[in-house]
């Protein structure tokens, strides 16, 4: 129930940000819309600790800048690779154990891996993750640091 209220509040905030018109009619319609959406979301069974991960909110905001920095760096590296006439790549699939406990954590980790050019998550299967690596550098350095940070975000 609390989570539903939280969802409603977040959605209303989203509405206010988008709307820009703060007349009683539209504010009322916004509230009604939020109630309708929360109702449907509950019917859909998507309002839970995965669907609305309020528990990771704050830590995630700390994690995000670091992730963006990583993304920038690997972008630059990738641009270099692409523009290199020799196209120095050695693509391969690798499997690693994942020291993460929740599905949410695994998802954050998997998406972070995919977001950084050079690595793409191809599968998450319980405790292991399968990653497609473009240039045979051991992604463990990045991956290791990343998994530690995600583990922190996960907060368990």
């Amino acid at each position: 129930m609390l989570r539903s209220l939280g969802l409603g509040a977040i959605l209303y905030g989203f509405w206010l940000l988008l709307s820009g018109h703060y007349t009683p009619l539209l504010l009322g319609l916004g509230a009604a819309s939020c109630i309708l959406v929360v109702y449907i979301a509950r019917r859909m069974d998507v309002v839970d600790e995965e669907g609305l991960p309020l528990q990771v909110g704050a830590r995630f905001l700390v994690y995000l800048p670091w992730l963006l920095k990583e993304v920038f760096l690997s972008n630059v590296a990738m641009a270099r690779t692409v523009l290199d006439p020799r196209l120095p790549i050695r693509p391969k699939l690798q499997r690693y154990p994942l020291p993460l406990e929740t599905d949410l954590g695994r998802v954050i980790f998997g998406n972070s891996v995919t977001l950084t050019p050079g690595t793409v998550t191809t599968a998450i299967d319980g405790g292991t993750i399968e990653i497609h690596v473009l240039s045979g550098e051991d992604p463990d350095t990045t991956g290791g640091r990343m998994s530690r940070r995600v583990s922190w975000v996960e907060g368990r």
């Binding site: 989203f14 979301a41 669907g51 998406n111």
Partner: protein, 139 residues
């Protein structure tokens, strides 16, 4: 163990936001008429995403197939009915001015009603169509 955890959890997070965005587009449609259509598409898209990720069976439990059918017809009814209401109030067909004391408010309400009709129809058609397609292989 489900190996589509990424898609599953991410769409879980996304779905409510898509729906509220749809309604935002809908109710701000009178500033740019035609919003009802986009809203209907977006709202339906939220459902379709859900059905894609969680399977048709679960989507049907949330939204039985008769609902899109009704929506399709209901939308048209709202549209045509609004015209009759304006006429009953002494105006021309779809003359929104008569819907409120202040003509501009009248127009506002009229467009809202019409756009809502459009939303309902488009939503019904899109979801109904998805059901028709997704349900075939099974039957």
């Amino acid at each position: 163990m489900d190996d589509r955890v990424i898609v599953r959890i991410c769409s879980k997070i996304l779905t409510p936001f898509i729906m509220i965005f749809a309604l935002y587009v809908q109710f701000h449609g009178d500033y740019s008429p035609g919003g009802g259509f986009q809203a209907g598409v977006i709202f339906a898209a939220a459902f379709i995403l859900y059905a894609l990720v969680y399977g048709l069976a679960r989507a049907l439990r949330v939204l039985p197939p008769v609902v899109p059918y009704i929506c399709g017809a209901l939308g048209l009814f709202i549209f045509a009915g609004t015209g009759f209401v304006t006429m009953a109030l002494g105006g021309n067909y779809l003359d929104y001015d008569v819907l409120a004391h202040d003509p501009s408010h009248g127009q506002h309400y009229g467009i809202l009603a019409i756009e809502f009709g459009v939303l309902v129809t488009v939503f019904g058609v899109m979801v109904g169509l998805f059901y028709a397609f997704a349900g075939r292989r099974r039957s």
